[in-house]
């Protein structure tokens, strides 16, 4: 177990360096004259140029210079200093304001997935082949097949603009009610996957030997399902939801953009639109780290939850 965690941590460190290196190389390296890019149309005096060259170690050239600046970027990233966006706001501050909203939205989405997805999945798994089972399967296929860029504007148009059941967009400080519809849209994908996962795993476990044993002991069906089957069936679902929480935080770009929710994804959406390079890199770097860490936590959780799984 300990060895597994250490190995997994090392793997994450490799992935972290790999991804940040790619992000950095693509965004900053070989960009022409970065000082002129910073100044825009205005002329740069020799003194300013010398100052900036000194500050950002631009005099080191070639391969070594690239890594010099990469480690600058990395150490800034690790210290939480993400630099400034093109508009001059510190990126750390933008993110600090955006995180609470994004986390709230992701939690609503996960709650939707758990309440509806897992419940329906258990029912479908128990009654495999029934009308309920087949219709939920078809429904989840529909949800899985419809891209968010269709689902989000459609939900916004129908429920927000036409029938006005929910607020169509949310403002600077969104209430729970304003986040509900985006949360459902965001959660619908995880709902569908969670449902299918629960269904398969319940159906599989219902055929397991220990269930037969429990039944032949004379336990009521209700107890067999809730205690014996559910406990084992929910392990893959919990891991999936853990991975999904990390996904949702980084994957809410479209939903937050469409519903105008001032979260992390919305800021990224806007940064792409306004061609704000530093802001895009800052947000993407942080999101990649969040994603990697959440994957790590889930993997470890998996090993803790299911002692049958052995990592060599």
């Amino acid at each position: 177990m300990f060895r597994f965690i250490v190995r997994r941590l090392l793997q994450m460190v490799v992935a972290f360096f790999g991804t940040t290196l790619i992000v950095y190389a693509l965004m900053f390296a070989g960009q022409g004259d970065p000082i002129q890019a910073l100044a825009g149309e205005r002329p740069v005096t020799a003194a300013q140029r010398a100052y900036l060259t000194e500050k950002y170690h631009l005099d080191a050239t070639g391969f070594g210079g690239f890594f010099y600046r990469y480690f600058d970027y990395l150490s800034n990233l690790l210290r939480g200093d993400l630099g400034e966006s093109l508009t001059g706001r510190p990126i750390g501050e933008i993110l600090a304001n955006a995180w609470p909203v994004t986390i709230k939205l992701a939690l609503i989405a996960i709650a939707v997935a758990v309440i509806f997805g897992v419940t329906a999945g258990v029912l479908a798994g128990i009654r495999r082949g029934s009308i309920f089972d087949n219709s939920t399967l078809l429904l989840t296929l529909l949800v899985l097949g419809i891209p968010t860029i269709v689902l989000a504007p459609l939900a916004q148009y129908l429920l927000g603009v036409k029938w006005q059941l929910f607020p169509a967009t949310s403002g600077a400080d969104p209430s729970f009610y304003a986040l509900l519809l985006p949360g459902i849209v965001l959660g619908s994908l995880s709902l569908a996957t969670a449902l299918r996962l629960t269904r398969t795993s319940v159906a599989e476990n219902l055929r397991a030997d220990y269930v037969r044993t429990a039944r032949s002991k004379g336990l009521p069906r209700r107890r067999v399902v809730t205690v014996h089957v559910l406990r084992n069936s929910l392990i893959p679902v919990i891991t999936f939801l853990g991975v999904e929480l990390g996904n949702l935080m980084s994957g809410a770009i479209i939903t937050e953009g469409v519903f105008n929710i001032p979260g992390v994804g919305f800021n990224l959406f806007r940064a792409i639109r306004t061609e704000d390079g530093p802001l895009v890199v800052g947000i993407v770097s942080v999101l990649v780290v969040v994603y990697l860490v959440s994957n790590l936590v889930v993997d470890v959780l998996y090993a803790v939850l299911d002692p049958r799984i052995r990592y060599e």
């Binding site: 459609l154 148009y157 792409i272 994957n295």
Partner: protein, 318 residues
């Protein structure tokens, strides 16, 4: 293992046929000398599924649209006159006009080409990468497998949309061909991992079969065994995964174009049109709804097709 499954599934089918008592079929089942293959079984199963036929019809329809859009509309999608802004349907424009005064339906029809091109070519590229990596990892095992599997782990750990944003932001050119090429390349580079894992596991299964040992004893080299004996058996699961991937690549392309970093005007893409329609949906909703429907149906068709084929090939999942 797979032989056993084939037998088990055909037994199942025989039993089912016995229950329902269809008179015509048993004669064909017991064709002497030629045992039914897994593929034959799958095809038999597939033929009876309405979902398979519906999705196949949709796929063919969209493909026809991509190849010959002129068959579906006589209007020019780039013929935009601002005075027709949000005008009602008229003269072949069965869904009316959008904010720029372009024919909404014609734009949706012509949008099929970019989507399908990106989907098909990235799926093809993905398939090639996945087959090479999966074959090498699965066949040679040992340190080759270890290294390749770690690479797969790392690429799998990169969130697709974020990485695509970073990669595509780097493409400065606005030329339609360059953008198309880079979207295809980016999707393939980020999306090959799942297929590679599938290929690897089926190669590992196939490698241990007796006929591979027989071929080796007859003096076949590694290359020949991989190409002639293992590849045909590893192909079917890979094709299923790639069909589903094709659908999700189309969705990914539309998403990137929606964000403004994938394809750009004047290329006609559903993602761009959905984004434009979204902005003006309070005035007129059809420019949003039409490309949305086209995109959703196309993606669904590919995913359902892949799903149906996989169900047919993998009786265990049922």
């Amino acid at each position: 293992m797979s032989d056993f499954e084939t037998v088990a599934s055909s037994e199942n089918q025989a039993a089912r046929r016995g229950v329902s008592g269809e008179p015509g079929t048993p004669g064909r089942v017991g064709q002497p000398g030629r045992p039914r293959s897994l593929a034959g079984d799958a095809w038999r199963d597939l033929r009876r599924k309405p979902i398979f036929w519906i999705s196949l019809a949709l796929v063919l329809l969209v493909t026809a649209m991509a190849v010959a859009p002129g068959l579906f509309t006589r209007n020019d999608p780039t013929d935009c006159i601002l005075s027709r802004q949000h005008a009602a349907p008229s003269g072949g424009a069965i869904f009316g006009y959008d904010f720029q005064g372009c024919d909404t339906y014609a734009r949706a029809v012509y949008g099929a080409r970019a989507s399908l091109l990106v989907g098909a070519l990235s799926a093809l590229l993905t398939g090639i990468i996945a087959l090479v990596v999966g074959m090498l990892a699965g066949y040679f095992g040992g340190w080759v497998d270890a290294v390749l599997s770690r690479i797969v782990d790392i690429v799998l750990g990169i969130p697709l949309l974020l990485a695509a944003i970073v990669l595509l932001k780097r493409v400065a050119s606005d030329s339609a061909t360059v953008r198309l090429g880079s979207v295809i390349f980016v999707l393939a580079v980020l999306g090959w991992t799942t297929a590679a894992r599938v290929v690897r596991s089926s190669v590992i299964t196939a490698r241990q079969q007796d006929y591979v040992a027989a071929a080796r004893m007859l003096g076949a080299g590694n290359g020949r065994i991989m190409w002639r004996h293992i590849l045909p058996n590893a192909l079917a699961p890979a094709i299923v995964v790639l069909t589903i991937a094709l659908g999700s690549f189309i969705a990914a392309e539309a998403t990137l174009s929606f964000l403004g970093i994938g394809l750009k005007e004047p290329t006609i893409s559903w993602g761009i049109d959905i984004n434009n329609g979204r902005v003006h949906m309070r005035e007129s909703a059809t420019p949003l709804l039409v490309p949305s429907t086209f995109l959703a149906l196309t993606v669904l068709a590919f995913i359902m097709l892949g799903d149906a084929i996989r169900d047919a090939f993998d009786p265990k999942l049922r």
